[in-house]
Point group: C2
DNA sequence: AAAAACAAACCAATCGGTCTGTTTTTATAA
DNA sequence: TTATAAAAACAGACCGATTGGTTTGTTTTT
């Protein structure tokens, strides 16, 4: 035992894992910076500081590496979606509107701004024309929505009469945020978007409490 | 001036225009079929049936050709957005919910299904990492939303107290449809989406008529 | 000593773009 | 009208750079 005596001499399993991780991370970096069209193998390898030969030892093709990287990205989003529900509803006694708003703002910044937003769209577009990638990612895309629907709906209104509708409303919310994100991606940030999200929250709260809720 | 006596011998201006049009169309075809990464010049030229030399005579760079094609696509969408408002509200005496639904379904099929959806997203993503393209397209993306907001809002509720809010609601609607389209693009068609759009319409109609509308 | 990890030179194919030469249209003058 | 020269439209061979991927050889772990 005593395997970590010197910093050098790491096990092969650890080296392999770290190398694949490093390459996947560099793939996402390149994707975010240059888009799918510009994320060439050379760019990725330079970014990772990995030689072509070493790369070949860990991945068969570039597509395989991209698939692993994309899968990791999306699975991370699913995990966040599950965690975000409970985390962002600290005080169940607050008005529904406030809790909704907190949750939606959290989702907006986590999923639909900055690097994550760019990668999400980049990966979705790559899946469109790549059958294999699409087959691997489609269930995760659906899983994300399922997580949003069941988890958020439940943590917002555990007592709701119609749990299914609450889940649907959360999915609609995600769709709206996505479309908003696409606008900012293509045309730059829009200051009015925060107000639009507030309007959305008011509408949502009004609908949920339409029979005289809290 | 009997210039069109023979089918041959077309004016140079006409030839140039037709050629640029043909190349732009082929660019969009290639983009739809292979994505931005796979839409190489060779693919585009083969599709258009145009030689490399002829192409060079009409465009300086591939980027310039893509910009023209993308611009045409988006301007067509803006024109449709303007036309769709009046066209899809044939009977102003129908309930607001029905008119809303008709309009939203029309927008869904026109903008967010099939080839147009794919091209829209493809072009938006290309603009993300291409500064010049982005500068050219960003105002058109904004113009599309402006057309949706003012035109739809007005033709649905010319008497509305708050015209601004009606426009905002239409923009939110577009965002929701966009996000929904992205889901189908990445994970395939979802039968439940029609029901989700109906739910959205009910919510929208309820909100607009919340003070006792028609 | 065998196997896995790594490095770098190397490869055919393809990329966007250019060059050279031919055909078609246009402008001008007889 | 017709002859003609310049210009524009077009075709295809050609170019250096880059692409994803392979091969050969060295170092490190087992």
């Amino acid at each position: 035992m005593a395997e970590q005596a010197k910093p050098e001499r790491r096990s092969q399993a650890a080296r392999r894992e770290e190398m694949r991780e490093r390459l996947a991370a560099a793939t996402l970096d390149a994707l975010a910076d240059h888009g799918n069209a510009g994320a060439s193998l050379s760019v990725i390898l330079e970014r990772a500081g990995v030689s072509r030969g070493a790369w070949a030892h860990h991945f068969e093709t570039k597509a395989e590496m991209l698939a692993l990287a994309a899968e990791g990205l999306l699975l991370g989003a699913v995990a966040s979606a599950r965690a975000l529900g409970p985390a962002e509803t600290p005080d169940p006694s607050l008005p529904l509107e406030d809790r909704l708003s907190a949750m939606i703002e959290a989702a907006w910044t986590r999923f639909y701004t900055g690097r994550h937003r760019d990668l999400l769209f980049e990966v979705a577009m790559a899946a469109r024309t790549d059958t294999e990638l699409r087959a691997r990612l489609a269930p995760i895309f659906s899983g994300f929505l399922a997580a949003i629907g069941s988890n958020w709906g439940l943590s917002l209104r555990p007592d709701a009469d119609d749990v299914t509708e609450m889940a649907d409303l959360m999915v609609l919310t995600i769709y709206m945020l996505r479309g908003m994100a696409m606008q900012e991606l293509a045309a730059g940030p829009a200051p009015g978007h925060e107000a639009l999200r507030r309007l959305w929250v008011r509408m949502l709260a009004g609908w949920v409490g339409r029979y005289g809720g809290p």
